[in-house]
């Protein structure tokens, strides 16, 4: 953007819109977070540490982050396939499939939870066939993974779709003409180009899963130490009017989430800078 030397910008309204943005973000995000920290400060550090590292809390972190990680990884893998199919191949009913992907966005999470719990329960349509094989899904940590996979899918697919659209089929043909196998084309040409977007989708799905409550509680069984997620533990504490204890756990969640987002963002920035190194001025596309 050409910028006049006087310091006045060509595009007007910067001051006003930045002001709006800051006020909005402060009210919506910073203020509640500050409130949370303020509430937690009623506890001494030692008390906080004791609550945050209690056996039940530690178990709930393991369940929450473990299941979220697993679900996000499953989604990264299958989401890539779904996005690829939706972009690259014409097939009948493509638009229906495309809109189905958004369903986990739109569906109230409680509805999803009840549906999944019914399906995977020992007498449900799917659970009925899994149980004899010794696989119990509903009311186990596995059920949590199923629920989190369900809600995380659209994040991966919707992040990848525009990026895949951007990769011309010619790129694959070029790789093939140079003697690359399908696998080499995928690992050396396509995956590096998709990686930043895949990482973004993964992060979004993962963050969403960590905070998920509605769909999980119906299918999880909520056994302390086994299938209890941290958000549920927080609710449990609130129901016992232990607001400070709930806040302590909330702060832990906040810190872990923040650190993870930061780490993934750094990774993403690194991957993207590898992809478009110093390409600022040159035209990226025709």
């Amino acid at each position: 953007m050409p910028r006049p030397a006087s310091g006045r910008r060509l595009l007007p309204g910067f001051g006003l819109s930045l002001g709006c943005t800051l006020v909005y973000l402060s009210l919506l995000i910073l203020l509640p977070l500050a409130g949370l920290a303020f509430k937690a400060s009623e506890l001494s550090l030692a008390q906080w540490w004791a609550i945050a590292t209690s056996e039940r809390a530690l178990a709930s972190y393991r369940v929450t982050f473990g299941a979220s990680l697993l679900a996000a990884m499953i989604n990264a893998f299958f989401g890539l396939i779904v996005a690829w199919i939706l972009v690259r191949y014409p097939f009948p009913g493509k638009r229906v499939v495309d809109s189905l992907v958004d369903l986990p966005f739109a569906l109230p999470t409680a509805v999803a939870g009840i549906t999944l719990a019914t399906l995977y329960a020992g007498n449900g349509w799917i659970g009925r066939h899994l149980e004899p094989l010794g696989v119990k899904v509903a009311f186990t940590p596995l059920g949590i993974v199923v629920a989190l996979t369900f809600i995380g899918l659209p994040f991966v697919v919707r992040t990848l779709q525009p990026v895949i659209e951007d990769i011309e089929p010619e790129i694959e043909e070029a790789a093939a003409m140079l003697g690359a196998s399908r696998w080499q084309t995928f690992t050396r040409v396509l995956l590096p180009a998709l990686f930043p977007a895949l990482l973004t989708g993964f992060t979004l799905a993962f963050s969403r899963s960590i905070g998920e409550y509605g769909s999980v509680i119906f299918i999880a069984g909520n056994l302390p130490l086994i299938s209890e997620i941290t958000p549920l533990l927080i609710i449990a504490k609130l129901e016992q009017y232990d607001v400070v204890g709930a806040t302590a756990l909330a702060v832990v969640m906040l810190i872990i989430s923040f650190v993870m987002l930061l780490a993934v963002n750094a990774l993403q920035w690194w991957a993207a800078s590898r992809l478009h190194r110093r390409s600022g001025s040159a035209d990226e596309r025709r």
């Binding site: 790129i171 093939a176 140079l178 003697g179 050396r188 478009h276």
Partner: protein, 356 residues
Amino acid sequence: MSIEIRAIGKRFGSFVALEDINLHIPSGELVALLGPSGCGKTTLLRIIAGMESADHGQVLFGGEEATHLPARDRKVGFVFQHYALFRHMSVFENVAFGLRVKPRRVRPTEAEIRRRVMELLDLVQLDWLADRYPSQLSGGQRQRIALARALAVEPRVLLLDEPFGALDTRVRKELRRWLRRLHDEMHISSVFVTHDQEEALEVADRVVVMNRGRIEQIGSPDEVYSAPASPFVYQFLGNVNVFHSRVHGAWAEIGRESPAAYASAEAMAFVRPHDIDIERQPVVGSLEARVQDVHLIGPLVRVELAHATELIEVELTRERAALLSLVRGQQVWLKPRQVRVFALPETTLEDEGSGI
């Protein structure tokens, strides 16, 4: 390595992309597939490359059957119109790609790869760009890198799909001369697709003119230009706008060279705009016309004239135009020097567009 195309046919649904194509490309030749868009030239190139499969017919490389050989086993270098460089790889890695994906037992060592890549970058005169990324290069540079990348695997055949189509005129001219020199140095067979007749005539050893999935004519650039085999070739090789106006029955009667048999309303006569003389006085066999416009286009002067209701374009040298000192509305007489008559109006001529 020679390429042999035998009775290749290809349909996309009800659209016939190629119909019974037979073509022999001798080893070491640079051949242009020339035609308007949609004539099947790119499809033919993609079938040779193995990216598209023919409905029937055969492709042979050096006499060996290659019809069903997968693209990656054909040892064919392919250059795309829009470069298709790998964006996340440096120029060096782009060129090295073909070497790095070779099976381990035939893969060159890292030092050998480095040597080969630098050699190729040197060949395309871009060795100083090895560490850059494709997005940092100009169009012409990108296409040269794409060419170096295609040559890295030492292909037996080089195929180029409208290689200069996305470049501006000056770069295009420079690159096609450079391609010609490169081809002569590399001693491989090359086939390139173009819709630009000037490009085909300048660069190629032989020109294959295609139209509607068929080959109209195969010949040297001089042959297809000076002895077109069909009205289509005549129209396509040359200024088409000028040509369309030349489709005019009266010429056949007036041009003395035309056989009497063709002198019916069915015949069509073709004259290149530079094969017409303008006289200020009537001469034998000349046509009366009125000057409508005079354009100075670089070294040429293009005169638009009206003969009855027909619009006729004539190209003159500047000297000749100065001698005639034409003005708008002036009455002149046209004398065609060279007329070609086709008495075959069954294939109706249509305006295919100049393609540029």
